[in-house]
């Protein structure tokens, strides 16, 4: 039992010991974490910090100093002949370049932090300057030049800014609400400006170094996209062989910044391009062709990277050929389409007429359709001779029209859609109104039919045909032309 308790106690002790050990081993990491957290906190609290050094630590860091030293060394001496034997990753220069890439990104962040610092301090003096001059390095230079000066006419900003901006700045300075800074604040601000400019020059050095080496490390890739972008691509991919293993669609979006829309519409075109956006080729294509250009750039630069990874073409001719190909393709896209030649006339009668149907055509056809009257006139009753216009089977036959056997006494007077010639229409009207003083003596309104006897209403008269007895020789409206008294 005692041994059990003892063992439990011992276990407890062990645990606490372990915790202590863990604490110790984590201590270093934790310190680093704390440092990082402090850094972040420092970012948040830069507004309150007075001391520049607590804000920007990079320049003092060991890593920075090491790499800068190496870079300056390497920039100083000429590179000895490329050693093709060594695998790329083992080359110490290559490692330096990867480090340089990372460092340049860090320097950029650092410059942004310092810019915030300067801005916050200088806001008391000249608030509007931060909105007029956006670029951090330009801002730092301008602040350094102006210093504590109130009268901007005494300050010469030539060469630092475009002349239009200088004009705007001087005009705004006249009406600014700011007041000159106290001496110590001014001192700190100027220090920060110097720091920013130093960082900028350091970054330039690093980039120059990388670019100069890029020609020997990846000549084909840098022939297409330029050394700066090539260096960035390599840095992000994690090495040249990693870049070569990537499919082209991935290379296209390396370095793509996910823009936080923050309420803005997503209808605007957001091209899927990363670092390739900064290449000269991409910048010079018209906006309509940018997406196609991005795709072809990614494809060809992937090919070039693969060539470089296997050290297949150290001279870079392959890259130049690919660049030329890309340029030609983009130019071809911009060519206007061939002009339309006027079409020759079609062969006459080669195309059959397209007959159209529809309501309009039907209405038109109704005007020339076979009427009910004509249909009846065309039919004949079996066994009964039809009546005819001249009687006795001479002249036009009337068929079933007005036959006693037909059900109707009159053919229905539906207004006919027939188009009647105006002169004929006039004659018909004349005939219809023939009743009156000038009626011919030979007309009758009675009809004598064999079966029904006398019909009080002449069915044929309703049709305008009149009975067969009406004479066509004697005019129904005319009179005697000559009257002679006997």
């Amino acid at each position: 039992m005692a041994t059990l308790e003892d063992s439990f106690l011992a276990d407890l002790d062990d645990l606490s010991d372990n915790e202590a050990e863990l604490d110790e081993s984590d201590g270093d990491d934790a310190k680093k974490d704390e440092e990082d957290i402090d850094m972040d906190m420092a970012d948040l609290e830069t507004l309150n910090y007075d001391d520049l050094d607590s804000v920007s630590k990079l320049q003092k860091s060991q890593r920075y100093l090491d790499i800068m030293h190496k870079v300056e060394e390497a920039l100083g001496k000429e590179s000895d002949g490329t050693e093709k034997g060594i695998v790329l990753e083992d080359d110490p220069e290559y490692k330096l370049i990867v480090d340089c890439n990372q460092l340049s990104v860090d320097i950029e962040n650092e410059i942004a932090i310092v810019h915030n610092f300067i801005r916050d301090k200088y806001r008391l003096k000249f608030q509007e300057l931060e909105s007029l001059v956006n670029h951090p390095i330009d801002y730092a230079r301008v602040v350094k030049k102006i210093g504590n000066e109130t009268d901007l006419t005494l300050v010469d900003l030539e060469g630092l800014l475009p002349s239009a901006i200088i004009m705007v700045v001087s005009v705004t300075a006249l009406t600014t609400k700011g007041s000159p800074l106290p001496e110590d604040v001014l001192q700190k601000t100027l220090e920060a400006c110097d720091r920013a400019l130093d960082l900028d020059s350091a970054r330039k050095k690093v980039l120059d170094f990388v670019e100069s080496k890029m020609g020997s490390i990846a000549p084909n890739l840098s022939a297409i996209v330029g050394s700066a972008v090539a260096a960035k691509l390599m840095g992000t991919a994690g090495g040249l062989s990693a870049l070569a293993k990537m499919p082209a669609c991935n290379v296209q979006v390396l370095g793509h910044k996910r823009k936080n829309l923050a309420g803005f519409s997503s209808a605007t075109s957001q091209l899927r391009v990363g670092y390739l956006e900064q290449t000269e080729i991409f910048q010079s294509t018209p906006p309509a062709l940018k997406s196609r250009a991005g795709r072809i750039l990614a494809a060809k630069s992937t090919l070039a990277a693969r060539v470089d990874a296997t050290r297949g073409d150290p001279s870079g001719t392959n890259g130049k050929a690919l660049r030329e190909e890309i340029r030609k393709k983009i130019e071809k896209w911009q060519e206007p389409p061939p002009a339309r030649q006027p079409k020759p006339l079609p062969v006459p009668d080669s195309e059959p007429k397209k007959r159209r149907g529809g309501r309009r055509l039907r209405k038109m056809k109704e005007r020339y359709a076979v009427t009910d009257m004509r249909k009846l006139a065309n039919r004949m009753a079996f066994g009964t001779p039809e009546e005819s216009s001249l009687g006795d089977g001479l002249g036009e036959g009337y068929g079933m029209l007005g036959q006693a056997g037909s059900n109707r006494l009159r053919i229905s007077t539906v207004p006919s859609k027939l188009k009647i010639n105006p002169t004929i229409a006039k004659k018909l009207k004349e005939r219809n109104y023939a009743g009156g003083a000038t009626t011919s003596g030979l007309t009758s309104s009675l009809a004598f039919t064999p079966v029904q006897g006398i019909e009080l209403c002449n069915p044929q008269q309703a049709l305008g045909l009149g009975s067969g007895t009406q004479s066509t020789y004697f005019s129904e409206s005319g009179t005697f032309s000559k009257l002679k008294k006997i």
Binding site: A164, Q334, E335, P336, P344, L345, V347, P348, D349
Partner: protein, 180 residues
């Protein structure tokens, strides 16, 4: 500094537009010249080889003003009519061609003779001579109308067709018979 207008943002785009204008202008100016025949074999060949298309042969000389006007109209409408007609020019000053000049009895220039499938097509335009068209056409459309009428008639199997043009558009000339 104002940003440039979105449409004509980049120089290459403007350049593309300009290229298009120049090319259009150039293409309008150029026209394929009508073949000019000077030898009997050439005329024979073209008559025999034009199948199922009206063959329009213009007999004339390039120094004549009327001839030039007619040629201008022929050139302009050659492409439009190209699916059912071929146009060719015969230079009447060449020696070998005189055979044809005598055969068709061409005295006034320019004269146009129509063929279809190696068959000589006649055109009744109200003038005394039906075998050819003498003089120039008033308009491009007139020429196209005449060719179309000849084509339709020929496809139906007729040897002579009636001219669709109104008499005022038909050039008048007088035929001399043995200098009478």
């Amino acid at each position: 500094m104002k940003p440039p207008k979105k449409k004509f943002e980049s120089f290459p785009f403007c350049l593309g537009l300009l290229k298009r204008q120049i090319r259009d202008h150039r293409e309008k100016m150029e026209s394929v010249l009508l073949p000019t025949l000077t030898k009997k074999e050439e005329i024979d060949r073209i008559i025999n080889n034009t199948i199922d298309k009206v063959l329009v042969l213009r007999f004339g000389r390039t120094s004549d003003e009327n001839c030039l006007l007619l040629d201008d109209i022929l050139e302009k409408s050659a492409r439009d009519v190209s699916k059912f007609a071929t146009v060719a020019l015969v230079d009447v000053d060449s020696d070998q061609v005189q055979v044809y000049v005598n055969y068709f009895d061409i005295t006034l220039f320019p004269s146009t003779v129509f063929f279809f499938n190696a068959h000589h097509m006649k055109l009744d335009s109200g003038t005394a001579d039906h075998t050819k068209w003498v003089g120039k056409f008033h308009e491009k459309q007139d020429f196209i109308d005449v060719v179309e009428v000849i084509f339709r008639g020929a496809m139906k199997g007729k040897m002579i067709v009636h001219c669709p043009l109104p008499p005022e558009r038909i050039p008048k000339f007088q035929l001399l018979y043995k200098d009478v």
